[in-house]
Assembly symmetry: C2
């Protein structure tokens, strides 16, 4: 079957590294689905604003279609244990399609743009969207379901996260308003709390630095023992890097 793109996802995540591994894990992170022609018609999303959540079916467009794996080493299992690809949500699957449960913030029907503002997203910027379906709690929610190997590891073994004085000064420079400074810090915190390091590097105690891209910024952060520190925040393309 051939899928037509019905929209494009605008996200603060500009690269794969750093993206929360499931939606709803970073509730502050917002994104926007912009419907593409010929599907940018307001009738098509009529009554969608009465739902609180949607399923978004999208393509893992940064993954090459023919690069699927039969087994995967989930980062949450430390990268040591193999499980079948169909027992994971890994993007390296026969058909690189993903589903994400997102919270609707606002359905926007402007003259030139039909879009849905969402939060809790885990989707890369410019991701093609293939379908939007309402979340039906009466049939989609199974609180007693068994989460298999994902039950073995708690999601929140949160590391301590500090911001260096320099990183705070960087953020203050880029965002003059106090409110925006705090929400930018919150997004960074939620993203780091999920420990975006590759599975095999988790639990390593020595000092190491990493970077990830968020909106138009590169975030330089370091780990030592189980303490994370945001070191510097650069504007992409500036000479500071």
């Amino acid at each position: 079957m051939k899928l037509k793109k019905i929209g494009t996802f605008e996200s603060c995540f500009k690269e794969l590294f750093g993206i929360p591994r499931q939606s709803s894990l970073a509730p502050s992170v917002q994104g926007k689905i912009i419907l593409s022609p010929p599907f940018d018609r307001k009738e098509m999303i009529s009554d969608l604003d009465k739902f609180s959540h949607i399923w978004v079916i999208f393509g893992f467009h940064a993954i090459k279609n023919n690069h699927f794996r039969t087994t995967v080493r989930p980062p949450r299992l430390g990268g040591n244990k193999k499980v079948g690809v169909f027992a994971t949500r890994s993007p390296y699957r026969p058909n690189p399609i993903g589903i994400s449960l997102l919270k609707i913030i606002k359905v926007q029907k402007k003259e030139k743009e039909i879009s849905i503002l969402v939060s809790g997203q885990d989707i890369l910027d410019q991701t093609p969207v293939y379908d939007i379906k309402p979340y039906l709690p009466s049939v989609d929610c199974e609180p007693k379901a068994n989460g298999g190997w994902t039950d073995e590891v708690p999601i929140n073994n949160e590391p301590s996260i500090q911001f260096s004085t320099e990183s705070i000064q960087n953020i203050q420079k880029f965002f003059p308003e106090k409110e925006k400074q705090l929400s930018f810090q919150k997004i960074i915190k939620e993203t780091l709390a999920l420990d975006p390091r590759p599975g095999h590097q988790r639990g390593q105690m020595e000092y190491k630095t990493y970077g990830f891209r968020l909106l138009d910024f590169d975030i330089l952060w370091s780990t030592e023992n189980n303490n994370f520190s945001v070191e510097k925040v650069f504007k992409i393309g500036s000479n500071n890097l």
Copy 2:
């Protein structure tokens, strides 16, 4: 994006009419996903048996790809009210892909067939399957989500359902074992309890007969007031019809 079929769904539902409109609404109904080559490898479903539920992403293969609608009249709203197609799970969508939450009964790894037995299914026989993903209750379950227009109508305004003496005799003839008779009756009951009539015919009080196909049988049933009656059960292709 082009989707490759990874498996085929074997179901007791041989035609669209009569299929429960959401999975999990007819918990007795079983089905089987048989993996297709080159994806029929037991590594690919390793550890899947530790989960209790899966998402199945499938194609609405009985719906023509170019027959999407911008708005839909959901049967549950009596067929009078229009809502945007993206605010429904209707199969008449730009990309005819569906998602169903199914309960795993058994993951079977035989030499010549890798398959997953499931229950609670709402999928047509011979449906192409494009992906299988584990259900993660920690991120997929939002009990407080707002179900939009679907909250307006309760799912279970169950009609009374009787079996005629003739239909019971038919069933006894086809299924000598008492246990199978009862489970066949249960599937019929669960299917009818969801009122498979077209929306605009619901609530009609006069006597009317309908048929639907289940496994290799045609079920003839009638409605009058809010009472449903199973009249006859025919084997498909027999001279009784």
